[in-house]
Symmetry: C2
Subunit: 209 residues, 2 copies
């Protein structure tokens, strides 16, 4: 009788190993052979799950974003408006050692996405989902009267997306300029700049989501 | 008598070819052999100028930044304060086809900088020079009374660096969300947010540099 294998779990462990290898050595040096060796798999066993490097990379990219989405969904539960928006950005921004390591992986994926239309499309679709989620929170903030009246929601979404991306580079390459404290202050100030002067934080509709 | 060769011009043409190859195919696929073929050089002739891929990449990175620095120096001449700061950011931000193509090269370099300490240090030093230049313009703006009183200059420099980086990713990977108009509006609004309400643009000390 053949051994029962949890294929989903095996795919997950492969994807995690890819992330580790990229963190350590970068995308360029990732080979199917190294990856199999990292996992203690025979080369052929790996091919069964992912036919080539491209398939592995795409799966890893999706995995990284799925993880972030799961964290975001957890932290925004029961929140709305600017409170939810701030919590979401806190999960995207590269805090701590994990954030910094993930930012390095993100940079590798961006470079690849710029060259590879499959990864590029996945990146684009994911970024649009994040933008839509931020837009939804900004619309709630407007509804609740906590958004400054002169804020244009499209522009605000764009600024948030730009800042979230820019901090990935800074955390990975400009560590001296991107302590957790610096990133946190920047986020607080930016969310503050969106807030109507008449709305006090946390007193206007939070928790009604 | 040996042919007289302009070595500086030859290095420059090699570096430009590298930039084209990276734009087209990405960093990963760049080989010394392809590069020699792009230039119509024998493999050995290329090695005379750059012993290996690493040396070529470093030179290209420096070249790209030198070009940007030259453009910045040109546009800030005779300007100071927020006016100079806006002109500087306009040269860094990825406007037009050239900006978008350059952003794709920048993304490739970032990924490499995260994995290679030599490129990482060059990137870091360059980014610090840009930060210092932006700081100088902000200090002039404070001197001239055009900077909002509650602006902290360190934080303002950090925000500018983050935004300039974030737009590189957006221009390369999120073209649908980063038209020239969108980037220009974002820059104008951000510089505007630094301006003291009592200072009218262009009326306070500009041109005294």
């Amino acid at each position: 009788m053949p051994k029962v294998v949890d294929h989903a779990a095996r795919r997950e462990s492969i994807v995690q190993a890819v992330t580790h290898v990229i963190e350590r050595n970068g995308f360029e040096r990732l080979t199917m052979r190294e990856l199999a060796s990292e996992l203690g798999y025979a080369h052929g066993a790996l091919n069964r799950y992912f036919p080539n490097k491209q398939a592995v990379l795409t799966a890893s990219f999706v995995h990284l974003h799925d993880q972030a989405d799961a964290r975001i969904s957890r932290v925004v539960t029961g929140r709305r408006g600017l409170d939810a928006l701030e919590a979401m950005c806190r999960e995207i921004l590269p805090f701590g050692d994990f954030g910094r390591r993930a930012a390095t992986v993100v940079l590798a994926f961006w470079a690849r996405a710029a060259q590879d239309s499959e990864i590029g499309q996945i990146h684009h679709a994911h970024n649009m989902r994040w933008r839509n989620r931020m837009r939804q929170f900004l619309l709630q903030a407007r509804e609740d009267g906590e958004l400054r009246e002169d804020i244009d929601i499209d522009s605000a979404v764009s600024e948030l997306a730009v800042r979230n991306a820019g901090w990935q580079m800074q955390a990975s390459l400009m560590g001296s300029e991107s302590s957790d404290e610096t990133i946190a202050q920047s986020l607080t100030a930016h969310i503050g700049s969106l807030r109507s002067e008449t709305a006090a934080p946390g007193t206007d509709g939070s928790g009604t989501a």
